[in-house]
Amino acid sequence: MLQLFFGLFNGISIGSVLLIAALGLAVVFGLMGVINLAHGELMMLGAYTTFVVQNIFKMLGDPWFGAYIFVALPVAFIVAALVGLALERGVIRFLYGRPLETLLATWGVSLILRQFVRSVNGVLAIGLVVFCLLFFGAWVLLSRRLDWQKIRNGVLTILVFLSTGIATVTGFLLSGQKALAKPWFSARNVDVTAPAWLRGGLPLGNFQIPYARIFIIILTIACIVGLYLFFNRSNWGLRIRAVTQNRQMSACLGIPTNQVDALTFALGSGLAGIAGVAITLLGSVGPNTGQNYIVDTFMVVVVGGVGNLLGSIIAAMAIGTVTYLVGSGTIALLFSQNSALQGIFDFFTFFADSSMAKVMVFALIITFLQFKPAGIFPQKGRTAEL
């Protein structure tokens, strides 16, 4: 009995990690129909932000260190949201209505972010700042000219090359400096030390429930409640829902759809940042951390049904529980007593490790989609499919 409870708890805890990672995705995909393959990398950025915040708090000393996570949460949210905002304004807004292209573009961003974390150092950062100052500064200055529309394309092309050139030269000149050329994070994984009060666990019979897991579950619940309140109680939440339902009509009613898009995307990205904080509690983080989550979280959204928070919650919990129960061999154990069920036991033992459990879960998802192709809560009506 206790064993089953423990299994269920672990399943829910895996599910809540999936859910917190999928929340941002569900917001962006459900409301805007955009698949953001860089979502995992935004999580990774959140995790690295936590790492940085933690390092700063380490310097402050012990009583402060325990509280770093409460600073890391908002900071990670803001960092990820800002990157998301830049991504939306810079790339995605040109690609609305072309979901497959968006998918490829966000993959490109994901590659760049991964390599950026690996190779970011003082030189690169300075080069980047120089580039931004030159390029956008010149853009702002030149856009005041009256004939701006006419010369825009040509000027921007020249500016890109010019700024890149100057930034590269600056980088070359600075690369002699050892201190600047040292990578900040390097390609290796970094470890985030959890605060003391999150280490250890709640003893329960023979088992122990880790505090970190409990914290993640609570964090997930808090995020869901916050999201629910935001969508249903705030003005911007109302606007976002309006734009989701009918973009043209909302625009006619004076809702700034551009801002709504940007805000929605920033919100989704910020949630990815918070998920990034959560995953630092589970293990070390590296440039490829995000990749481990992206497919699983997409499965949550696909199974849950688009644009439905409740569906995502149920789907995440179901996927989490099944993954744990199969992967840990708990199900196989159930059949181990009875020799008549040897075949079933062998079958489940074959799937009893975490990567094989994914195989089984995928098969189950495909089976599920045979009956409910649009997820647990499909959208209905004449406009649902055209």
Binding site: I35, L104, V109, I112, K358
Partner: protein, 393 residues
């Protein structure tokens, strides 16, 4: 009368175009088969062979994405399945009673059952095509029959890819797990695979396969079948109301595309000397898509050109500055999608050609309603009108 004339004119034009295309293909084929092996060093030739086998997958992806509008992010599965098929056959070139050397490491003494068919070379050849075809067909059927499409399809293929990756990674006892199968020291027809003679043969086979598969795709996309694929891309529901069942077409195309990827995988494996589950990494499968996008989707020649360009750039960059390659690739994704949505060939077709011609002063670009100027029907009418006017005078 007039219409008949117009018909024959168009037919003649078509025939001439086909002839030119045929000659061009034959010429390129001859250059690749005979000329390049003579002038390129063996190392470069091997590289080209690998690129060409990757171009074969790109053709498959173009078929499913460029023509039918379904973005598959899971072609690594089919690529690797083909590769594993051939590698298993090579691993089995052993004296009677022995099993491949890695099995004893995991305490396996008996060959797993599914290895047995790969003793036979013909069966292997069939399996290289058929296994990926069937896997793709099955996956496609399960997804398409529920009208799952667009990004959902992409995500599901990516999930399937991850699942296969996990499976092959985890099963040391069946397929040597992460380490994969090394083929370069194995023999085929009594010759070591990595020997220069064998490699040359593989190169020639690759060139031939590219040609054959190009022709296959050309045949598939040119007739009614190809038009239905484009129709499905444009408006799938409309196709349904015209009485066609899009599911069947999509499953077939996806299966064919998978089979093509299998052939590519087998050829790539013997030329690179190893097949591991890393061929099923998420990144590699998406990279395949960018080859097609760079070259120009919806054009077969674009897929080949794109693959050669990008893979060549990759070798160049990742040899010199491994760090820059990912930045470059990321930027490539962004650029192609935003600036060059129809790829190089698409750009040349729509703008570049005209610009080039007008630059050379050969012909002014048309500014009237498309091609009315050249229409034989209009020409004839004009002449008739003129003759009538002459008569009146």
């Amino acid at each position: 009368m007039i219409n008949l004339d117009k018909g024959t004119v168009i037919k003649r034009q078509k025939r001439r175009k086909l002839l030119i295309e045929g000659i061009a293909i034959a010429a390129i084929g001859l250059v690749l088969c005979l000329l390049l092996p003579a002038i390129l060093p063996a190392f470069r030739l091997k590289l080209l062979g690998r690129f060409l086998s990757l171009a074969i997958v790109a053709l498959g992806i173009d078929l499913i994405w460029g023509y039918t509008g379904l973005l598959s992010l899971g072609h690594g599965i089919f690529f690797a399945l083909g590769g594993y098929g051939l590698a298993m056959h090579l691993k089995l070139q052993l004296p009677e009673g022995q099993i491949p050397d890695f099995f004893p490491l995991y305490g396996v003494e008996k060959l797993p059952f599914f290895w047995y068919p790969f003793y036979s070379f013909p069966v292997t050849l069939i399996a290289i095509v058929l296994v990926p075809t069937i896997v793709a067909g099955l996956l496609g059927y399960l997804v398409f029959r529920n009208r799952i499409k667009g990004v959902y399809f992409s995500i599901l293929t990516q999930a399937a890819l991850l699942v296969f990756f996990n499976f092959f990674n985890g099963q040391q006892k069946l397929i040597n797990g992460t380490n994969g199968l090394k083929t370069d020291t194995d023999t085929l027809f009594g010759m070591v695979v990595s020997s220069s003679g064998m490699q040359l043969a593989f190169y020639e086979v690759t060139v031939l396969s590219v040609l054959i598969i190009y022709l296959l795709c050309r045949w598939l996309t040119s007739g009614r079948f190809g038009r239905i694929l484009i129709a499905i891309r444009d408006d799938e529901n409309r196709v349904r109301f015209s009485g066609y069942d899009p599911t069947g077409f999509k499953v077939l195309v996806f299966a064919i595309s998978g089979g093509i990827a299998g052939v590519a995988g087998a050829l790539y494996t013997v030329q690179s000397g190893i097949i591991t589950p890393s061929f099923m990494e998420v990144a590699f499968s998406i990279e395949m898509v960018i080859w097609v996008a760079v070259g120009g989707r919806g054009t077969l020649i674009g897929a080949i050109i794109g693959t050669l360009l990008v893979t060549f750039a990759r070798t160049l960059l990742s040899e010199q500055f491994p760090e820059v390659w990912l930045f470059f690739q990321g930027a490539l994704f962004l650029l192609v999608v935003t600036v060059l949505p129809n790829g190089i060939v698409g750009w040349v077709k729509s703008w570049g050609w005209e610009k080039l011609r007008s630059l050379l002063g050969l012909e002014e670009p048309m500014v009237t309603y498309p091609s009315l100027e050249k229409d034989p029907l209009v020409q004839q009418e004009r002449e008739e009108l003129e003759s009538v006017q002459d008569n009146q005078r």
